[in-house]
Amino acid sequence: MDGEVVLKAEHISKSFPGVKALDDVSIEIRAGEVHALCGENGAGKSTLLKVITGIYSMDAGEVSVCGCRAEIRNINDARGCGIHVVPQEMAMAKHLSVAENIFLGRYPMTRTGIVDWKKMYAEAKKLQEKLGGSAASLNVRDKVENLSMGHKQLIEIMRAMIDDNLKVIAFDEPTSSLSAEETERLFDLINDLKSRNLGVIYVSHRLSEIFRICDRVTVLKDGKFVDTRLVKEITNDDIVKMMVGRDLDLFGNKRVRSDQALEPAIRIENFCRAGRYKNINFEAKFGEILGFYGLVGAGRTEIMRGIFAVDARDTGNVYIKGKKVDIRTPDKATKLGIGFVTEDRRGEGLMLRATLKMNISMPNLNAITNRQGLISARRETQYAKEGMNRFNIKAQSEKTIAGTLSGGNQQKAIIAKWVQANCDIIIFDEPTRGIDVGAKAEVYAVMKELADAGKCVIMVSSELPETLGICDRIIVMREGEIMADMVNDHLSEEDIVRYAVAN
């Protein structure tokens, strides 16, 4: 690592009411390196990015770019200094074209003050050529609406590339919603950015990615700087240890499961939905964790939404405990004891502006009513507190607003609401997406605890290690069809991937 230091942030501190989000943190980025930023949720990674790009003002500290002290008060200052962030949630004007989105806020103008469309499309094409690879396949006149997440990311990167003085580009959880193929392309692109002598900051929860593309890693914990190390000198466990401050056994002990005596919980017969999935037949049992593995878009989430009647399906029957049931609306599913921890935590899981107790009691209002059928504040508090204690939800009180919790605690709150509602069959869709390792371990422990208590747990996941780590049985899907249904007994990653990807 001998590139010139392009960005240096020293002794940065930032407090919010009640929390010290950053406490004397320093980091330096060199030209031509990919620098990973690691830490649990709430460790201060995002805050640090936001301070560097001027979205937050810092309380103390200094930022310098190429050796000169920089005053960054807002995002435009940051751009002026050549610092650009590709955010996790990409904000696009979806009805506008690719080129318009690239130049959003910076449209080229003619001398008479109207938009110079010709120039804009020409410049956009030039950027495309400069990036090459999959960027070349984009049509700059297409609307953004129908593009994949990967392509939207490309637009963000092109936005950054407009500036000739671009020095640092930061990626915040860039792969969290990309398919495997798109991820590969992104890695190629990052290597390309690196060879252009840019400094790249890479924030991710996926440690395997850090080992693939990063040169150095800086770990933060509870807002404090832990260490900066060369990636080739350390191991996965080293990073985890630095992040959580202790050794962490992510998946815990392998559960001992007696599969002969298990009662069938839910059976799906002949599920079809044109273009999404077909001929789906499977059974899940009480006391087991059934994993659904497949690439993004294999149809797993759609099947679960079909069972729960969130989305329609063409054909198919559902049997619960051997009895045929007719689920037409989600409330029927919840009445039958099915819980659904959705993939989109914030959009479909929680009421972010409401209190924790309102969120926990939402699926089971009957539990908090008194004999006259009226909601009792005392019962509700008690009910919510039980859930919070059971799942170790860290919040000031049951009256805390759900949106202020960390991702891990939000996820636990969603799990709490279903378990408190006495659901026997709980579907988890990507339950650990975007949450840190500490919270992940807790979510796994909860799922196992539920299975041990005789509940039926179904997990949809795109991450192989967790699927292999905690599932008793694994169903592999590809392009809307079930390719394999295997007991997880000495299975290897290859055994599963073989079915998940086309030959």
């Binding site: 729960f308 959705t342 929680l350 309102m358 009691s361």
Partner: protein, 318 residues
Amino acid sequence: MNTAKRLYLKSKDTPGILTVFILVALVIIFSNTSKYFFTSDSLLAILLSASTVSYIAAGQFMVLLCGQFDMSVGNVAAMGGVLYALLVVKGLPVLLAMAIALGFGLLSGFIAGVCVSRFNTNAFITTFAQLQIYRGILFVLTGGSTISIDPNPAFRFIGTYKLFGVLQMPVVIMAAIFLSFWFILRFTKLGRSIYCVGNNAEAAKISGINVPRTITFCFLMTGFFAALSGVVFASRVNSGQPNLGATYALDTIAASVIGGTSMAGGKGNIWGAFIGILVVYVIQNGLIMSGVDSYYHYIITGLIMFFAVLAQTEKTKK
């Protein structure tokens, strides 16, 4: 100082408290600008004039709470009043005429509710279209002129009867409506569902709450209480007025917002909406009594609403 600050912060958490301060401030100001304002007669008159609109404010509050609007309320009220008067003139029994007028309100609310919740139409446009249709029907029915009623004590009962010789019926109805809405929102599963739907309709749906039914219920409430408002008003003034309620939609939305209701839904306090509608009427009546030229009323009302809403917004801290 600390107590004051704590109180201020608490008021930010509790929607509606700030509205009480605004109301008190307005009363103090108008008491100084008009010697007639702070008398029991004039305060009662204000309460009476606010009462019929307050029924709509209560309904509008429910609709806003689940994240929707109802722009049609003014003309539904006019339809309620005109139907009530017209049918009585045609010789129908008072109770039957009233039932038809109120039934019209329910039907109107039901149509809006079903369109918005099942067919996902935009609430603003849907209810605006209804408003236009009703305006047309009103012209057809009345030719644009007021329908007067021959002396008929039964017709006038609901708008003018004094309970125990003192309590005006419109005010009694107002109290009953607000108390029952408070009860529904605070203690029933239906009330809780409304909050949940307003907060996050997707999450509510997946948690087993019947979202279309909840939204439809709220529109039924605005429809019914708008019609009731028209009926009571017609009874009070002894005529059916096709031009009633031009400002009701905005007045009632303003009342809820002044009372701390979030326009995004899911957050609000029914008493805030109650105080809010009083604020709107205290401003209007106070200005008249203070002898302010009526042309200035709109400007001043607008400005006060503007600052009231500004004071209610949550601070977004960087």
